[in-house]
């Protein structure tokens, strides 16, 4: 205390005294435009008159929020795990009950309320390994599998372990532009160097090794590049990498001694003719021991996307290939600090890894629901691309996979200047206006990164088909009006 008995006038924790890395963290998916959308919704509820009656949230990859139904079987098993008295209820099918019993046996005290080991319940890691083996035809070791609270948890953990050094030896991590902003946020938080490599818009957002080379060479001048992150299928771009492209990326990573991070959370969301999901691990091993014994890879998956859309459970895993055993020991220590991933999320993951088989009673419904979800998304992906491409000034690459359209928008020079006057980046200015005038919430491309002088927005394809048509129509109207206003 000062002599007058008055306490220190300055707070302990201020913008100046706080961790400077945290100040640099941005996360567009939940950023200012979303906050404004929430405000507008509040105003609508209070009866304020607007040119629309609801805000359509096409900003976040949240299927259930947009009306997609959960898969019955998944929820049945989870309910049984949660309230085991239901095991006596004959309204639940036997295949759901047997899975629930098996999961509960692996939980402390037979309860999903018990902590699990931080790496995740061993039985479930074994099931994940078997799923990966079935998917890829390549052996998978449960000890290399770490369950996580969503893929985000695994990704942040791996980035943390990769980042070290200072100044010119500070770790650099290559991320795609555009990218899912968790990566840029995590790198800012860690004080790591973000190395941007541009995806090729003219070529369906494909990866180009010469661009990787350019980015790396440039980066080597001021940091120590150590990792390369790939999102496949892509977010926000939706591109599904060809097998050939994946091989080139692996070769590049091998040559340049880079740790590969393969974010594959959209692996079931592949729609376009001629496109197929190839896991990085599968391709790596099929390239033979020269690569499969050397290249270090972390592959990420989650229960938030695909046909499940169970974002709220925070379920996921990562598989680590060729990780140095001492580094793995450090990783094990690190994950133990966050105790354990939510056990319900682990249980959910287990059911996804062990879905009903053709001979089981729940199979017909499960198959029907799963197919309906994926077919619906495929139809909406195509429709979105087609409608956007009919609008002068909007051009949209095929939505080959994932859950988003990332069209490019032409903005008149006057609009760009108006944005500048308002202190906003042009696509934020555009999206804010779209929100205020039409009640549609999208995320500006600047939140994901884009080539200088280009503008985009990310819109999800998740609203139900009829509503999506309305959204697309409104965006078209807005774009034409906006363009006319500023020409």
């Amino acid at each position: 205390m000062t002599e007058n008995g008055i306490l220190h006038p300055e707070r302990v924790l201020t913008l100046d005294t706080m961790n400077p890395n945290v100040k640099r963290v941005e996360y567009a998916v939940r950023g200012p435009i979303v906050q404004r959308a929430a405000q507008i919704e509040k105003e609508l509820k209070e009866g304020v008159k607007k040119p629309f009656t609801e805000v359509i949230r096409a900003n976040i990859g949240d299927c259930h929020a947009m009306g997609q139904r959960p898969i019955t079987f998944l929820r049945q098993v989870l309910a049984l795990c949660t309230y085991p008295e239901l095991l006596e209820d004959n309204k639940f099918p036997e295949d759901a009950k047997s899975r629930a019993r098996r999961i509960l046996q692996a939980c402390g005290g037979g309860s999903i309320g018990s902590y699990s080991m931080s790496q995740g319940i061993e039985l479930i890691r074994q099931d994940v390994a078997r799923y990966i083996e079935r998917r890829d035809g390549i052996p998978s070791n449960p000890d290399n599998i770490f369950l996580s609270a969503g893929a985000s948890d695994g990704i942040s953990t791996m980035l943390k372990i990769l980042v070290s050094g200072e100044g010119s030896t500070r770790t650099g991590v290559m991320i795609s532009i555009p990218q899912y902003p968790l990566y840029s946020a995590a790198l800012a938080d860690l004080g790591a160097v973000q190395i941007n490599y541009y995806l090729d818009e003219a070529n369906n957002w494909g990866m180009d090794v010469s661009e990787l080379r350019r980015a790396l060479a440039e980066a080597k001048k001021h940091c120590a590049p150590r990792a390369l992150c790939v999102i496949n299928p892509g977010n926000p771009t939706g591109q599904v990498q060809s097998r050939k492209c994946i091989e080139e990326v692996i070769r590049f990573a091998a040559e340049e001694n880079l740790f590969l991070m393969a974010d594959e959370v959209y692996q079931d969301n592949v729609y376009a003719e001629g496109c197929k999901f190839h896991s990085f691990k599968k391709v790596l091993f099929e390239m033979g021991p020269k690569y499969s014994e050397k290249v270090e890879l972390a592959s990420f998956h989650s229960t938030s996307k695909c046909y499940m859309g169970e974002c709220g459970f925070r379920g996921g895993y990562m598989e680590l290939i060729n990780l140095d055993p001492s580094v793995k020991a450090q990783l094990i220590k690190m994950v133990s600090v966050r105790l354990c991933p939510p056990v319900a999320g682990q249980a959910l993951l287990d059911i996804v890894m062990n879905p009903p088989q053709p001979e089981e009673p729940s199979y017909p419904t499960y198959k029907k629901e799963r197919t309906a979800v994926l077919d619906d998304l495929a139809e909406k992906a195509k429709m979105t691309e087609e409608i956007f491409n009919k609008v002068p000034g909007i051009s949209c690459n095929p939505v080959q996979g994932a859950m988003y359209a990332f069209p490019r928008i032409e903005l008149p020079q006057k609009a760009i200047e108006a944005a500048k006057e308002k202190g906003q980046v042009p696509d934020m200015f555009y999206c804010m206006r779209l929100l205020e005038e039409k009640g549609i919430c999208l995320v500006p491309g600047s939140g994901f990164g884009q080539r200088e002088g280009t503008f985009h927005f990310r819109m999800t394809i998740l609203p139900p088909t009829e509503k999506l048509k309305v959204v697309l129509e409104k965006v078209k109207e807005f774009h034409l009006d906006f363009t006319a206003q500023y020409s």
Partner: protein, 482 residues
């Protein structure tokens, strides 16, 4: 082509090397191994392994609350709402909660800080708990367990860029995962010793000593305290809390009050009072300037839902611009587990007298309270009768943390084996008696003292078995060294 593994190994951040491997986790793994061996028919002097090294009531055999599980199950699988097998208040609660979820599904993301209705419930709960002291929803963040909010709050502080690394005062003994989180972020632990002879009391002189010693080599910014204490079982009285608050105010420290055991007070002479309430009642200038973050969770108390992952942090007097940064930081997690949020809502608004579920709900809680009181009594009785072991009164939380008075020859033998004496004791206890406890060194302790930590949130039958094995082992162990 140089193997990447080698280069990464040299360059993994030294901070990570500095996190100590958990001895308790190593023992728990060994316990699981022995269980597997027993299942395969390997003969041992015991038929099963009892693991009381985790602060985990369900693992200890205590049951989840029926109402909680019925509500969660109904939210997961709303078809259950059509059946008559569930009480009407369960159905109403589930319907209300589903109505607050986007798309009516617990699978949807929620707002960053938590479902607004639930955040409001929590603020009302806090206010009721604190006798009407105002609690603002905008100061509350719900996270997947209080551990997550502890880590996020530490991230706001801890930096290594400045010449002086951020220091945080931590009690000895402490909750080890806080210490690990702090180390992992590059912060410096500034230990202050709790007074074992006096029930593990906090002494302001000791806080002052620790702080002044620290100022030379780090920048102390915060003080972390658990009340009720883990592992000590100490419950602070009002004066003690006021003293700590005053100290924090004088020395310009941010207070981190970990209150996850607030529902576990067993001593009839003790009461839980929140740091926030005391701060408020101290009035200005304290109440409007001391910065405080208070933590609570569904993992402890009567709920014991550790695996569901639900908790919250409430900020008091946090700088508004820091609050904005905190929001962005928390948003990178997107949101807390929705099942955790639902459970937190039940914690904040449990069944009331008159509700159909109230009789069972209150009976289950009463039974748990009785079990804990009986367990505390029994543990203290048995440990009190064992030569070479002593335990301070367990007034709250869910652990016994007895001191082992090991003969010097035992200590020497441990040191010769290159192992910490309480780790060695715990390993022998596990191998010979099939009982897994946590070694005291994990939590920190005064040099030359040794402890073990047992979770006593377990059935009375299980506790008897635990105490039988512990007593038999301890007496046998003692006899080897005289």
């Amino acid at each position: 082509m140089q193997p990447i593994g080698m280069s990464l190994l040299r360059e993994v951040s030294p901070r990570l090397w500095s996190i100590r491997s958990s001895e308790q986790v190593a023992l728990a793994k060994r316990a699981a191994q022995i269980t597997a061996e027993l299942q395969q028919g390997v003969k041992k002097p015991y038929k099963d392994v009892i693991d009381v090294s985790w602060g985990d009531a369900h693992r200890g055999g205590l049951k989840p609350l029926t109402f909680v599980r019925q509500v969660i199950a109904s939210c997961l699988y709303p078809s259950l709402l059509n059946s008559e097998s569930l009480p009407i208040d369960v159905q109403q609660k589930a319907q209300n909660l589903l109505g607050c979820c986007e798309g009516g599904s617990v699978g949807a993301y929620t707002s960053t800080c938590g479902i607004p209705k639930i955040v409001r419930s929590v603020s009302e709960f806090i206010s009721r708990r604190d006798g009407g002291v105002e609690s603002l929803p905008e100061n509350i963040f719900i996270t997947s367990g209080s551990q997550r909010s502890l880590m996020m709050v530490l991230k706001l502080f801890v930096q290594t860029e400045r010449s002086a690394r951020t220091g945080v005062l931590v009690p000895v003994p402490s909750y080890p995962y806080f210490n690990m989180a702090l180390s992992m972020l590059g912060g410096v632990m500034v230990p202050y010793y709790l007074d074992e002879e006096h029930g593990w009391d906090v002494k302001v002189d000791e806080l002052r000593r620790a702080l002044h010693a620290a100022r030379g080599h780090c920048n102390p910014m915060a003080l972390y305290i658990t009340n009720p204490g883990n592992p000590t079982g100490h419950v602070q009285n009002r004066k003690s809390i006021e003293d700590v608050i005053q100290f924090a105010a004088e020395e310009n420290l941010f207070l981190l009050a970990d209150e996850v055991y607030q529902d576990s007070v067993h001593d009839p002479e003790s009461d839980f009072i929140s740091y926030k309430k005391v701060l408020f009642e101290m009035g200005p200038p304290y109440s409007n300037s001391v910065e405080l973050a208070s933590f609570n969770s569904i993992s402890k108390g009567y709920f014991g839902e550790c695996g569901v992952r639900g908790g919250y942090v409430e900020f008091v007097n946090l700088d508004p611009t820091v609050m904005e940064c905190a929001y962005t930081l928390f948003s990178t997690d997107t949101c807390a587990s929705v099942l955790g949020q639902i459970t937190l809502d039940i914690l904040a608004h449990p069944p009331q007298p008159g509700d159909p579920s109230y009789p069972i709900f209150s009976e289950e809680i009463r039974a748990m309270k009785d079990t804990m009181i009986s367990n505390v009594h029994r543990v203290q009785e048995v440990i009190g009768s064992l030569p070479g072991m002593s335990c301070q009164p367990i007034k709250g939380a869910i652990f016994a943390f007895p001191q082992l008075h090991l003969p010097p020859s035992a200590v020497q033998q441990a040191e010769k084996a290159g192992v910490n004496p309480d780790v060695w004791y715990s390993s022998c206890l596990l191998d010979e008696a099939g009982l897994c406890v946590g070694p005291g060194c994990e939590h920190g302790q005064r040099e030359g003292t040794h402890h073990i930590r047992l979770c006593i949130a377990t059935t009375q039958e299980n506790l008897e078995e635990v105490l039988t094995r512990l007593s038999a082992f301890h007496l046998s162990f003692k006899s080897r060294f005289f």
